[in-house]
């Protein structure tokens, strides 16, 4: 069989084709490489593809933050140009052990710092729905690859919305898992108390399958835990008995576009039609202080994690006349782009003598009250819903001049992350011809429930994930 429709084939269907021997792993791999050849010059979803599959299974794309043995891994940064890891990240090993094969490494904002992939040192990716617009970020390459039919599924990473927001902007499904359920071993570190790897897929069931493959305790990451129960692949198409909470502040925040609100409100009404009860609730502090809290904690942790890039053991080294100190300073100046530099400076400032208590210490306390606020609300509701992103995909260049304008992209995605909660983004409609994402938030370890709700809504909504201009 040669006519593999990479725009529509789900990973589950691809698995079926392989099991029934209707296609070979090689044919599947080549079909995606053909699609890359046809469309990726425009989309720039990939930084590099792998010509030979490492097995006979379903291909998967990895965000370039995931270490792949012998395959260049740059995290979108010039400072890691040419870096070939000498070991695989645990999530890569788990994928290979499950029979998946590596298709390529996807583009991203440098060190996962950004919401549009415009911070990649290798040039931006573009949105398959409209190439004049961003795919979101930082896992924008993974989202564009899946939405554009250049991969059946992909892994990304999410620190402050970096899976959910690009999934929303590209009209696909993205899971930010419960912190601690997916190993960070071999992931280029950004903010260690927040970073989590998760799937970007075309269906909720694919998302559940891929999460089941990557989740679980890893002896190489002592912050991981065993899942309390196996992940269930969702079947149900109704939501009887489910209590859906609509946090007012997450649904009425400044900057939410009317078309986005309309689409999300329709999905909320659909929950009721499917048998759920819906009620309003309040998360006042989490929404107002979530973003300031995030932009202290994440840069502080980043400034520490990025201290390792010094031009000595791996990565880029500047050519300098002078001593070791000069070598460090010039290497870091030349190797890092604007956003990592800004966050290193911000984080170093927030951690420096005299400011630690006022900024970092205070932000850690805010994190406690955000966790408490969610805990109270989730006693009354099983899941919470909101838009994933206040806007649909925005134009390239429209938010690059002002860092704060870009940071606002994640104002709705950040609060659950600060509390370590899982959240799932599914496409729920179109606004101005561009996809709108619905964010579903649940208690820690509630991924199976999020998949069940997401699947039921997905079936009822019937969103076509193939970008209109490619149909």
């Amino acid at each position: 069989m040669s006519a593999i429709d990479t725009l529509r084939l789900s990973a589950e269907e691809a698995t079926g084709l392989l099991e029934r021997r209707e296609v070979s792993g090689r044919e599947l791999h080549d079909a995606y490489l053909d699609a890359v050849g046809a469309r990726d010059e425009q989309l720039h979803a990939y930084l590099r593809t792998v010509p030979e599959p490492n097995g006979e299974g379903v291909p998967v794309a990895f965000k370039d933050v995931i270490s792949t043995k012998g395959v260049e891994t740059t995290a979108g940064s010039k400072i890691l140009e040419g870096f070939k890891p000498v070991f695989d990240a645990t999530v890569a090993t788990r994928c290979y052990d499950a029979g998946l094969t590596l298709l390529g490494k996807t583009n991203m904002d440098e060190f996962a710092m950004g919401s549009s992939t415009e911070n990649s040192a290798y040039g931006p990716s573009r949105n398959p729905w409209d190439p004049e617009r961003v795919p979101g970020g930082s896992s924008g390459g993974s989202a564009a690859a899946v939405a554009g039919g250049l991969a059946p599924w992909a892994l990304g990473s999410d620190t402050g919305g970096s899976i959910k927001q690009p999934a929303a902007l590209c009209g696909i499904v993205g899971l930010r898992p419960t912190y601690g359920t997916v190993s960070r071993s071999g992931i280029v570190a950004f903010a260690s108390s927040l970073d989590q790897v998760g799937p970007l897929t075309r269906t909720v069931r694919d998302c559940a399958h891929l999460y089941r493959i990557i989740a679980g305790r890893d002896p190489c990451d002592s912050t991981t835990v065993e899942l309390p129960a196996p992940i269930e692949i969702p079947e149900a198409t109704e939501l009887k008995g489910l209590r859906v909470g609509v946090p007012r502040q997450l649904n009425e925040a400044d900057g939410i576009e009317p078309g986005v609100k309309e689409s999300v409100d329709a999905a909320i009404r659909l929950c009721e039609e499917l048998g759920a009860s819906v009620g309003e609730c309040e998360l006042p502090l989490s929404v107002e202080y979530g973003m300031p809290c995030y932009y202290l904690i994440a840069p502080a942790e980043a400034s520490s994690n990025l201290a390792r890039y010094d031009g000595v053991r791996y990565g880029y080294r500047a050519k300098v006349e002078g001593d070791l100190g000069k070598l460090y300073e010039r290497t870091r100046h030349d190797g890092f782009g604007d956003e990592p530099r800004r966050r290193i400076m911000l984080g170093t400032y927030a951690l420096s003598a005299g400011y630690y208590d006022a900024f970092y210490g205070q932000a850690q306390k805010v994190r406690t009250i955000i966790g408490n606020e969610f805990r109270v609300v989730l006693e009354d509701f099983d899941v919470l819903v909101s838009p994933t992103s206040p806007t649909v995909a925005f134009r390239l260049g429209s938010r690059t001049a002002n860092p704060l304008a870009m940071y606002v992209s994640d104002v709705l995605a950040i609060p659950p992350n600060m509390a370590g909660l899982p959240s799932l983004s599914i496409p729920c409609g179109l606004s101005e011809g561009l996809p709108v994402g619905l964010q579903l938030i649940g208690p820690q370890f509630s991924e199976s429930l999020l998949f069940r709700v997401g699947h039921a809504l997905e079936q009822a909504i019937g969103f076509d994930t193939v970008p209109r201009r490619l149909r």
Binding site: M291, R341, Q362
Partner: protein
């Protein structure tokens, strides 16, 4: 919250990051704006609140002290910009 050029230079020194004069000025403006926005956290009175360093209630994870295979010297040096006789080469300190 406005920060000064001296603040920027001091923090850049702590972070081992070279900045040109023009970059120092731009950084001063941008950091001031960002700190103004994130400084909002200090509005809250959180005297009695415990800080959260980690979102899960984890206890210490202990491992048996058993040797496992690790990187060979060649693998450890495989990505080094200037390896020298089995060491990482650097200019004079």
């Amino acid at each position: 919250m406005a920060i000064t050029t001296e603040d920027v230079l001091h923090v850049a020194q702590l972070a081992r990051l070279e900045l040109s004069d023009e970059e120092v000025e731009r950084m001063r403006e941008q950091l001031s704006a960002i700190l103004e926005a994130v400084g909002k956290v200090s509005e809250l009175d959180l005297e009695d609140v415990e800080p959260t360093a980690h979102p899960l209630d984890l206890v210490n994870v202990l491992a048996e002290d058993e040797p496992r295979p690790s990187l060979t010297p060649e693998e450890a040096l495989a990505n080094a910009p200037d390896p020298e006789d089995g060491f990482f080469g650097v200019p004079a300190v």
